[in-house]
Symmetry: C2
DNA sequence: GCGCTCATCTTGCCAGTGTCAAGATTATTT
DNA sequence: AAATAATCTTGACACTGGCAAGATGAGCGC
């Protein structure tokens, strides 16, 4: 906070914040550490101590993203639960809404190979979210259908559909849906999620 | 082909080939133009005339990828059609198989933002594949369900499920499925595709 | 208060990147 | 054979991330 001091105080979180902003502006692919450093008013090598390398920064950013993602999902769940809305539909919509709200962050979390996904913090944060989402599926579908090796078929099918819809919308495919206005678009997404397909 | 000549002859396709190989080895994110040039036995600036910029190369590569993708899908369709296998299941499995066979290329085509997707060649190649896949959905589901704005709900739901499953498998999520051996894995994928979810 | 230790941040450098301009070389056309 | 166009090379540029060495100040025992 205090820019006049030699020691920044909370450089780590400040860098994460600026990096998140930079990413959301220009995309993950053209992120420059030096640019982020300049933005934070700090030298280009100040990263080293906090993140080690560029991968470290992106790992931290992705972990923070999953925390936000989890919060967004649980917020939606808690808000709609009282109103008796369908749990799975609520979660799916929140999942997709998060992707559309933070497109670059979402693609860092799910499409990029730059973060170190074996990092315990990142791995823990992501697993927590996935398990919560799958629990939502079970909250709706009482029946659990086990496939080979005990794979939860229903949960995986729903996860795949929601996630696929999110990424296809995000990457500009599905033009028939994207060309609709906001309310129609939500309606279409709702119907796609409700439709079993296959 | 003739390495002794000053003019390469078919540098464009040679560069595409080497770039594809490099990508499949080291990933899209760390692709280096100079490395590809060295591999092709050519100077680092030989790209310019054929692709303009790095984006041009990746655009061409993605377009080639969609052509391959389309061929893989139609091969599977033609092969299984005679055997009376389910059309949608066949297409879905081929879709996922392609993603697993060419993981880096697939992620360039669907997850990267580096190629210029508004390029007519690339756009045309991708649209052709998507339309063929959606036609497969209709070949199976005679009924077309229109949502708001005339969105084909059934087709989009199936596309989302197949694509989501492909990307989640590719990025190492869905560990319960990935830990299975080959045959069990195919069986699980088949069941997930068959399950409507929702 | 003092002095020590260590985390934090800066400066300066390095090899490597993609792009551009200018020129060399060869194909193609006239 | 000469002129023109396509193709490829060389050399430079600004930029990148990472590393080493040193400057700065916070925290802590005394």
């Amino acid at each position: 906070m205090d820019a006049s001091t030699y020691h920044h105080g909370n450089l780590r979180s400040a860098l994460l914040e600026h990096a998140a902003a930079e990413i959301e502006e220009s995309g993950v692919e053209k992120l420059s550490l030096r640019q982020v450093a300049k933005r934070a008013g700090v030298s280009h090598a100040a990263f080293a101590h906090h993140f080690g390398s560029a991968q470290g920064l992106l790992t931290g950013l992705a972990a923070e993203g999953f925390t936000m993602f989890g919060k967004a999902l649980s917020d939606a769940r808690n808000h709609d639960y009282s109103q008796g809305t369908d749990l799975l539909e609520t979660s799916g919509l929140a999942y997709i809404q998060f992707a559309l709200d933070y497109p670059q962050l979402f693609s860092l979390m799910f499409s990029s190979k730059l973060p170190d996904f074996s990092d315990p913090t990142l791995d823990g944060a992501s697993m927590k979210v996935f398990q919560a989402f799958i629990a939502d599926v079970h909250g709706r579908n009482v029946l659990e259908v086990d496939g080979p090796g005990g794979v939860d078929i229903v949960a995986m099918a729903n996860w795949a559909k929601v996630h696929g819809l999110a990424t296809l919308l995000l990457t500009g495919r599905m033009r028939s849906v994207l060309s609709l206005d906001a309310t129609q678009q939500t309606g279409a997404i709702r119907q796609i999620l409700a439709n079993g397909g296959s």
